[in-house]
């Protein structure tokens, strides 16, 4: 990472000054919008580990990319991120194949694919010359690696994801909440699952740039985990999750810039802070309500 000077401009001023920061914030906000949206369906279907699995598998793609670009000099590849996307999609295929292979132990697919991804990453990181800044950025995210090309890519992805969610909202809700019923009303579950895993793979591999491989899944899970404690309905929960997520992105990026810490760390830590605060507030509110109810009963 570049060590910014002590007299660096404030975050707001820097936003006007540096395009990379604007791109990073825009990318973060777009990701902050779609990841909890996908994350809530992932949580309902009890597949919280799938994002982690896919992110580890896309790290393998990134490492292979680094190896091919730096060692074999296949520079036409350009950005190793493209290989990360391809790897995530391949990982998604592997998960689906293993899920149908171990019908009664579907979750077994996750650790298998995850360890394969991690092993391949270790192999190709060492082949491509060991530890370096690119790897560090891939693991924890970076504000500096967001270019206009990437911004365009995630804008298109986000548009597609939002369009799919809006168009197939009923089907997604039905399959997520009650797969057996969805099957009876004629929804093709396997096809649905396959497409949703593919989309997940795409989003996971793209969010690596801002938050890094190790923290991608938290972006999907934590805001939703906080929101589901206070949500009054499904839509309400989704809206609150997106709100928490966007706040974390803004605050996280701001702290990341000021203290020169990877944004993955600050965004996720701020998400955790929200989760804890929501937990405390909820407990306080529930206790207060119980006391009020007791008082009412006593008065009667």
């Amino acid at each position: 990472m570049i060590h910014l000077l002590a007299d660096q401009p404030s975050f707001v001023n820097a936003l006007f000054e540096f395009s990379f920061l604007r791109y990073a914030l825009a990318a973060g906000l777009i990701m902050g919008f779609i990841t909890p949206m996908i994350g809530s369906f992932v949580i309902i279907r009890r597949l919280s580990f799938i994002a982690d699995t896919l992110s580890h598998f896309s790290l393998a793609g990134l490492s292979i990319g680094l190896y091919l670009i730096n060692r074999i000099e296949l520079t036409f590849i350009g950005d190793p991120l493209y290989l990360a996307i391809i790897a995530a999609v391949i990982g998604a295929f592997f998960i689906e194949i293993l899920r149908s292979y171990y019908n009664n132990y579907k979750e077994i697919s996750m650790p298998i694919v995850m360890s394969l991804g991690t092993a391949l990453s270790a192999l190709f990181i060492s082949l491509s010359g060991g530890w370096n800044t690119s790897i560090y950025n891939f693991l924890f995210g970076s504000l500096l690696t967001v270019g206009i090309e990437y911004l365009i890519l995630i804008t298109i992805t986000a548009t597609v994801v939002i369009a799919l969610v809006v168009l197939f909202y009923k089907q997604i809700v039905l399959v997520s909440f009650d797969e057996a019923y969805a099957k009876i009303v004629g929804i093709k579950i396997r096809r649905f699952q396959f497409i949703s895993t593919l989309i997940l793979a795409l989003v996971v591999s793209l969010s690596i740039v801002t938050v890094g491989v190790l923290l991608v899944s938290s972006l999907m899970i934590i805001p939703v985990a906080a929101a589901m404690k206070v949500g009054k309905s499904f839509r309400n929960t989704l809206t609150i999750a997106i709100f928490f997520s966007e706040i974390s992105v803004i605050v996280g990026m701001w702290i990341s810039y000021e203290l020169n810490i990877p944004p993955g760390a600050t965004i996720v830590l701020f998400n955790i802070v929200i989760l804890i605060l929501v937990g405390i507030a909820k407990r306080f509110y529930v206790n207060k309500r119980l006391k009020n109810q007791q008082k009412e009963i006593q008065l009667k």
Binding site: I43, F177, I184, V185, M228, S233, N236
Partner: protein
């Protein structure tokens, strides 16, 4: 007239011939045969574990039939596509994720595949007696209330056949009577009904046929004719 609409108006027929089904080495259903026509009301009775729910899963194509045949509207169940025409209320809701916040209204809207009108939806909620629960979170409902939500859901897509697996377990007595009245009304409107119950004698259901299953073997009676088949 639109064929699909025309089709929806005729209740489903069901024909089961020599159905034998088992899990691994245990035979659950032995040589079951019966036939119900459009608009009939079949009560399937038997003790717990007698194979009633297994039969339902065979009819819905969830259990793959090994020996014997099941026909829905003369179409082999393995080739039948329009299961949306069958409203189904399962006995247990283990498959449903009701810990995540979602309101009754939201789950019904998502289940409204055939886009029935808002008025019809409210009418159904009112009929089943849960109109006031429409904005409640699913995870705050009691077992009986949840049961009724799923009954409304099964009626959402204008079903031509309704399969109810022990629908009144956990529902209080007052609502049970109202529920059977609704089911009788739906049957009078022409919907074929299959009601699975272990205490059918307590109910006020106007069933026309009875299939009693005991140790996997079935005895079928047409009450209109009063004869055993």
């Amino acid at each position: 007239m639109d064929i699909d609409i025309f089709e929806r108006l005729i209740p489903l027929r069901l024909h089961v011939t020599n159905l034998t089904f088992g899990y691994d080495y245990r035979t659950v259903l032995k040589d079951i045969s019966f036939k119900i026509n459009s608009g009939d009301f079949l009560a399937v009775i038997g003790n717990n574990g007698s194979g009633k729910s297994t039969l339902v899963k065979c009819i819905l194509g969830i259990n793959k039939v090994g020996s014997g045949m099941i026909f829905l509207d003369d179409i082999d169940v393995t080739l039948f596509k329009n299961f949306i025409n069958i409203g189904y209320v399962p006995q247990k809701f283990d498959d449903f994720n009701y810990e995540f916040p979602i309101t009754v209204n939201e789950i019904l809207t998502a289940s409204n595949i055939r886009d029935i009108s808002e008025d019809k939806k409210l009418e159904l909620l009112d009929k089943i007696g849960i109109l006031e629960l429409q904005n409640e979170n699913i995870n705050s409902l009691s077992g009986g209330q949840l049961q009724r939500v799923f009954i409304v859901r099964s009626l959402m897509n204008n079903p031509r056949m309704l399969i109810l697996d022990e629908p009144t377990v956990g529902v209080d007595r007052k609502n049970v009577e109202g529920f059977y009245k609704t089911i009788n009304d739906l049957n009078a409107e022409g919907i074929t009904i299959i009601l699975i119950s272990h205490n059918i004698h307590e109910s006020k259901a106007n069933f026309s046929h009875v299939l009693s299953i005991h140790n996997g073997e079935g005895v079928f009676r047409d009450l209109n004719r009063g004869e055993d088949e």
